[in-house]
């Protein structure tokens, strides 16, 4: 089944120059391994392909049930140079939460994911 990331994770973002960081955190600890497996650097790069000009870096924090993504070239120059409403990437996190994940039905049921019968 298709699962919306926003239904299984929460997130916060910030900036460093022209790079936005997005920390994605599993809503339940049991859901972290699914996030770690499915939310790959490649998939996140693909998601943001028309939004950012640089690379994506990915870091795992199993202790916090979280992943950290650095999205380079995300903020139109960043800081004071940027002309964007979200010049400091404060809500970039929500754009990442628009992603969806394909999860086998049996696994979705076992994990009790929202929408799993």
């Amino acid at each position: 089944m298709r699962v919306r990331l926003v239904d299984i994770a929460h997130a916060r973002s910030g900036d460093k120059g022209d790079t936005a960081n997005v920390g994605v955190i599993a809503l339940k600890p049991d859901w972290y391994p699914l996030l770690a497996r499915e939310l790959t650097r490649e998939r996140v790069s693909q998601h943001f392909r028309d939004v950012i000009t640089g690379d994506v870096e990915r870091f795992e924090l199993p202790n916090l049930k979280a992943l950290n993504f650095l999205l380079h070239g995300a903020l139109d120059g960043g800081g004071t140079l940027s002309l964007k409403t979200d010049a400091q990437g404060k809500v970039f996190s929500t754009a990442l939460l628009r992603m969806t994940l394909d999860v086998p039905d049996s696994e979705a049921r076992k994990l009790g994911l929202p929408g799993a019968a």
Partner: protein, 456 residues
Amino acid sequence: MSKTPEVIRVAGAQGFWGDSLDAPKRQVEGGPVDYLMFDYLAEVTMSILQKQKERDPSMGYARDFIGAVESVLPAVAERGVKIVANAGGVNPTACAQAVRVVLAKHRAGDRVRIGVVSGDDLLPRLDELLAAGHELRNMETKESLTSVRDRVLSANAYLGSKPIDDALRKGAQIVITGRSTDTALTMAPLRFTFGWADDDWDRLAAGIIAGHIIECGAQCSGGNCLYDWRSIPNLADVGYPIVEGRADGSFIVTKHPGTGGIVSIHSVTEQLVYEMGDPRSYITPDVIADFTSIQLADDGPNRVRVYGIRGKPTTDSLKVSVAYRSGFKAVGTLVYAWPDALEKARLADRVLRERLDRLGLRFDRILTEFVGANATHGPLAPPVPRDIPEVQLRVGVRSDNRAMVERFTREIAPLVLNGPPSVTGFAGGRPKVEEIVAYWPALIDKRVIRPNVEIV
């Protein structure tokens, strides 16, 4: 010397310059605290303060701090609550003098010692440093600072916890710094209280992480918290965070009883990942903290226990933040109403751009956003329904040529009468031209920075 306490309470009082004015008072009145921590300095703040100092040599510090000190003065003078603040900006001495005036007014001048930490300001030494081969290359572009030297407004090294620790050892009850790392403001009281050594990497790292959690005020205690946000109670009276630190480096994050907001594993985790880079290597002047070692546990309502933190020896460099003039920008907005709000806004954008073109205006950058349709998610946003009630057209331009940006600001208002219909929202008047102060991150050899601690 008095006995080392079991627990020391460091309270986040303000998380940025402009934060809630009554938060410091609520922190000292809501329950026991030992230290108030004020973090005022965002990257661009130093340049604003530098401009103020150029106009008036007695300025250049966070003036909110003076009122904040006055608001908590009974607790400072009578209960011995201490204050650590990077309120000094580019003029910590003037900040200390202003605090002195407030203390004298309340007849507390002879009881309260002020420690001033300086030595972070590199502006007076900049040419000497460049001449000595310290290139201050941009950490991102690798360019040498000489390429923008003539446009530099401020240059400051980030100092760590040691000079603050030093000021506390010398008996300061209020410590005022210039550019210190945000996290050092919390870590210093902890290391001072428990006597942590320079190479006690794990505990120093724990203090840094405590600082990271509370440096943005209520952003760790329910503010801006996405997790189950509807159920976060009473944000109007949100409790600012308190760290209860222990000698072993473990600590509790909490807030005063009866206040709004929430301190939970979720709220703390959201703040931990805020502005995070490589989590294994959070570099500070004192220690490199490893965020992958952090353990969190529930310790009752609105109490989160943080433990298990590891750190390792830090680098030989300090980070330097340089601010320099980098052209001009302006942003103009207009609101278009139903029916077909987005279509009208798009036409207005095309008309505007064609007029700018005819005027021969060329910008380094021009950006159009349709607020309500795509401003925050860009092409990731789904198509908006045709019947949305309104869309805001938001156009920004950037150029080294001030006159061109000025001319742009004159082209927005005419659209109200000579562009597409159903337009409003021009009450604010012509867009303001802003000089851009850009930020240049660099590194410098630690040995050339000489922190200075003075008790006044």
